[in-house]
């Protein structure tokens, strides 16, 4: 009971804090300016006299809110963000971002950052997507950002590589140089990669570098102990298809078990075409069972009527039916209804 109360009070406190942060942000919106009102001298005697003072600077105070939509009509900065194509509704569940973004002025605080991102090679159309993914970039120091880009240049990433890294993974710029350096070192030592290798992996999937090391280690454990890939095979998997290392472990294991044990495909073939492991299990299952029903499930490249694994999972059902199964799509659909 006490615990429950504590949890409850904690929640209430959080809520209060949330309100306070929005109320107390004094003069966050640049439209509100404190003004001295000059009342007419004989205001108290003749209240019905025509007004001579300018009241346009006075406006009702903004009330506390849970979303930014309530403020957007008043705020020039938020309007500019909308014009850039930033999806502001995604910030609503994060009070930190809301607080931070309301305190900013577009011309003073945002423009240099946007110009910087644009100089890094992010095209104008993608600016909205970038800022939606990483709004906290405005709270970083400008020198830090320049250092992070310089670090990449020092590590012999060329200009195009840096552009692709930032476009694919906007949160990269919010990571400190030390973190990135240790993480790059982690991959280089664990997988015995050369400089060029690690650069190509990073440009293929920049998310992997900032991914929690705990889950990468879990996948590594699964690949070694549960699936039995050896050192060079793991290295090849990382180089060809780094996406495997950011997957959910159970999904990976389920798919591997089905491919290796039910479809009878050995490790060499899987390493050769690791795209199979990232396609969903029901898709592999459906297509394999249909091919088996047609007696076409032949995955050995040395024999005729060979079905490549990458083609098995890629493409939509009509392509699969025409190219591999050589039947009509209707037949495949009716088969699916009788099978699963």
């Amino acid at each position: 009971m006490i615990l429950f109360k504590r949890v409850l009070s904690f929640k209430i406190n959080e809520q209060k804090q949330f309100f306070r942060c929005l109320c107390s942000s004094d003069n966050t919106l640049e439209t509100i300016k404190s003004n001295q009102i000059q009342w007419p001298k004989d205001y108290n005697n003749v209240p019905l006299e025509p007004n001579v003072t300018n009241f346009s600077t006075i406006s009702p105070a903004l009330k506390p809110t849970f979303n930014l939509a309530a403020y957007v009509n008043e705020s020039y900065s938020l309007q500019q963000l909308v014009k850039l194509g930033v999806e502001i509704y995604k910030f609503d569940n994060n009070p930190n971002v809301m607080e931070m973004i309301l305190k900013l002025d577009f011309e003073r605080d945002m423009k240099p950052y946007i110009r910087f991102i644009h100089d890094c090679g992010v095209p104008v159309e993608e600016l909205g997507k970038f800022l939606t993914k990483n709004p906290m970039i405005f709270s970083e120091h400008m020198d830090d950002l320049i250092t992070r880009i310089n670090y990449l240049e020092y590590k012999k990433f060329n200009k195009e590589m840096i552009t692709t890294i930032i476009r694919k993974h906007p949160k990269w710029l919010s990571q400190s140089t030390i973190d990135i350096d240790t993480s790059l070192g982690f991959f280089q030592t664990n997988f015995f990669l050369s400089g060029d290798n690690i650069r190509s992996v990073v440009t293929k999937l920049p998310k992997l570098i900032t991914w929690p090391k705990k889950s990468v280690n879990l996948i590594m454990f699964s690949l070694i102990e549960e699936m039995g890939f050896n050192k060079s095979e793991r290295k090849r998997l990382l180089q060809i298809h780094p996406k495997l290392f950011v997957m959910f472990k159970n999904h990976l294991l389920q798919r591997f078990n089905y491919i290796h044990h039910t479809m009878d495909i050995n490790h060499d073939r899987i390493v050769f075409e690791p795209q199979v492991l990232t396609s969903r299990l029901f898709r592999i299952k459906q297509r394999h069972e249909y091919l088996q029903y047609l007696n076409r499930a032949q995955y050995d490249p040395t024999k005729p009527n060979y079905v490549p694994l990458s083609k098995l999972v890629s493409g939509d059902d009509s392509e699969f039916c025409i190219n591999l199964a050589k039947t009509s799509v209707e037949m495949f659909n009716t088969y699916l209804k009788t099978n699963q």
């Binding site: 346009s56 957007v72 930033v86 999806e87 502001i88 699916l336």
Partner: protein, 316 residues
């Protein structure tokens, strides 16, 4: 009608019941989520309404004021989020299918939720195909469970199975009259039987109307059951019991619902077809078949259902 955007017109058509093919291994709530997600995504893509206008009055208060009408930023899609969200569409299913069950699943959308509820209150008959395997027994009575026992099954013959099926059916026919609270030897029982299927008075106890073995290819077999008030674990234990009665053991490998009332597996939509176009076509088809159903004399409309419900509560 022209003033409406395409998505609004499409949303107005989304009233009725759809017949889906639920894959095995996915919970029904997950199915509902993916259906609604896909529908809202497509509704958002096909032209939503533009933001509302707001009146802006600005300028010096001592002079003439500027009055302008401009589109409100607070109603922009980027600020308030997508126009259609999953919680905007009402959606309920008729019979709950368990995780392992695949097959026909009837779902009511928006105004169709009422239709779905009426349909469910009519005790519709379901037909299932139970796939089983002889000679193996598992802890949870399904093939993915831990194996407890393995045994011989080569002595099982077609006649044994058919005999067992007819015994089960006969015992359930007796139970049918028991659940309706009438003696089989009376006039009321005869009157009931002439009206058609005798439906149970409660939704609790399962009742088998017909059971037969449609294929026996040792060790695998398929059983077709017509049943009311069933649930997943009942079907699993049915297969288990059949195994015991045949003096060996059996586990279930798949449960497939092939018919729900008059909705068959032919009109059911596969998961890859759960998008706006196919759902709307399917809905039209299903609504017309629902209309045909509701014109039948035995179909209970809502009013009479409420009356009977009141009677029941009065008795209690």
């Amino acid at each position: 009608m022209n003033s409406l955007s395409t998505s609004e017109r499409a949303f107005r058509l989304l009233n009725g019941i759809v017949c889906l093919y639920k894959p095995a291994g996915v919970h029904l709530s997950g199915c509902r989520h993916s259906l609604l997600l896909k529908l809202t995504q497509e509704l958002n893509l096909c032209g939503v309404r533009s933001p509302e206008n707001r009146v802006v009055i600005s300028g010096d208060t001592t002079k003439e004021l500027n009055v302008k009408v401009e589109s409100s930023y607070a109603d922009n899609v980027l600020v308030v989020g997508p126009r259609y969200q999953t919680q905007d569409i009402k959606c309920i299913w008729t019979t709950h299918l368990g995780k392992r069950v695949s097959g026909v699943c009837v779902i009511g959308l928006n105004k169709g939720t009422k239709m779905a509820r009426i349909l469910q209150n009519n005790y519709p008959l379901r037909t299932y195909h139970l796939h089983g395997q002889l000679g193996i027994m598992t802890k949870n009575m399904y093939i993915d469970g831990q194996v407890v026992e393995k045994g011989r099954f080569d002595f099982v013959k077609r006649e044994n199975v058919d005999k067992l099926m007819s015994t089960i059916q006969a015992s359930n026919q007796k139970k049918m009259f028991e659940l309706a609270n009438v003696d089989t030897q009376t006039q009321t029982a005869y009157d009931l039987a002439t009206k058609g299927l005798i439906r149970p008075a409660s939704t609790k106890s399962p009742l088998i109307y017909g059971i037969k073995c449609i294929s026996l290819d040792l060790p695998n077999f398929i059983i077709e059951v017509n049943i009311i008030n069933e649930y997943e674990s009942y079907l699993l234990s049915l297969v288990h019991e059949i195994g015991l009665k045949l003096r060996c053991s059996a586990t279930c490998t798949a449960i497939r619902c092939i018919r729900y009332s008059s909705f068959t597996i032919q009109q059911a939509l596969l998961m890859k077809h759960w998008n706006l176009q196919y759902v709307l076509e399917n809905m039209r088809e299903c609504n017309s078949s629902y209309k045909q159903l509701s014109e039948l004399p035995s179909f209970i409309t809502e009013q009479s259902y409420f009356e009977s419900n009141q009677k029941l509560t009065g008795v209690q």
